[in-house]
């Protein structure tokens, strides 16, 4: 359709080579779910710092590092004198630490609160015009096709990733009598392949999530 017309109008444009299969595998793996790596590393880091500080202070308090050291005040005069000797350095370090905490904390909070992206599919990026398919249109069309496969009760899909590297996440609810291998083969061979060709995409990594449809069978005890 429009896509093929545009492509024939500019035949000198080099065709993008498909990405390596390793990159595709990685993209489809990361499309399985929203990454929580950042959140987890924040918690692990904070937990380690608090654990180390707590243990060290407790050891100090119980006199493991010497009873004389345990008897010193929390705000040691030695430390205070050191800070007083270099007031400018102390202030600048404190301000830098505060700004660092502010930036780190805000970016972390913003990242974990921000909804996951739904990139639109850019089919043809011309110099003046670009053809895009909205993320919900592409995902809904694909989900509708997947839901019609034998053995699939219902299906849902959404686009994930970035506009430059989009990927698809599909949830498939299997019916009671579904043959999982057959469903996966058909999903790949029919639905995903036809979606790639009809959308004119070189590659579209996909993460499939299998779920079970609510059992519609009668009572177990007849």
């Amino acid at each position: 359709m429009t896509v093929s017309m545009d492509k024939s109008a500019s035949p000198e444009q080099p065709v993008e080579p498909p990405p390596a299969s390793g990159a595709l595998r990685r993209r489809s793996r990361s499309a399985v779910a929203r990454s929580s790596g950042g959140d987890r590393s924040l918690l692990v880091l904070l937990g380690l710092v608090l654990l180390a500080a707590g243990v060290l202070v407790a050891l100090l308090a119980y006199g493991v590092f010497g009873t004389a050291r345990a008897g010193r005040p929390l705000l040691d005069p030695v430390v205070v004198d050191l800070l007083r000797a270099q007031p400018l350095v102390a202030r600048l370090v404190a301000i830098a630490a505060g700004l660092l905490l502010l930036v780190l904390g805000l970016t972390r909070a913003a990242r974990s609160l921000r909804p996951e992206r739904k990139p639109d599919l850019v089919i043809d990026r011309g110099p003046t015009t670009a053809i895009t398919v909205s993320s919900s249109a592409a995902a809904d069309a694909l989900a509708a096709q997947a839901a019609e496969l034998p053995g699939v009760g219902r299906a849902r899909a959404r686009m994930v990733g970035t506009e430059d590297a989009p990927a698809l996440r599909v949830w498939v609810w299997l019916a009671d009598d579904a043959d999982v291998r057959d469903v996966l083969e058909k999903l790949h061979g029919q639905v995903l392949t036809s979606a790639r060709t009809s959308l004119g995409l070189v590659a579209l990594p996909v993460a499939v999530r299998l779920e079970l449809d609510q059992s519609t069978a009668g009572p177990r005890v007849a």
């Binding site: 929580s36 924040l42 918690l43 608090l50 180390a52 500080a53 008897g71 905490l101 291998r181 996966l184």
Partner: protein, 179 residues
Amino acid sequence: MRVLLRVLAPLLGLALAAVGVLLVIEVVAAWVRTPATTGLLVPWPDWRASLEALTWANTPVPAIAIGVAVLGLLLLLVGLLARRHDIALSSPAPEVTVTTSPRVLARLVGRRVRAADGVAAASVTATGRKVSVGAQAWNDAGPELRGSVTSTVDELLDELPLARRPRVAVTVQERKGPR
């Protein structure tokens, strides 16, 4: 665990940001307003007085330190344990990743086991590595039920294109009373 992570992470990020803001404000305020006798937002001169009077061995310090260490350990555990427990299935192509949840595998196994002859009820726990089946047998079922349940589960696992085959553990209990 993952819900806890989703709630805790932004809260901790905001708390860190708040600490940073307070630190910057107080340091700048103390720098500009000389001599600074009171804090702008935080009563730090009072804190300083009490910190100077308190030694490391005084009563609240060890208890607070232990509390902080326990809190740190809890955060560490949440961070380490809040991973996904997906079960990977072998995919038809490299650009397709197929996963499912342990719950789905357990339901599939449970449905198959409960349909088997001689099984009154069954409970199934599944992870990517192990499928444990606890079956209740009718009291007229023979001793060969454990083997037949195991082969039923094995058959189901053969049908599923699992990337890694979990071990199967079956225990059979006899149910008292008439069928």
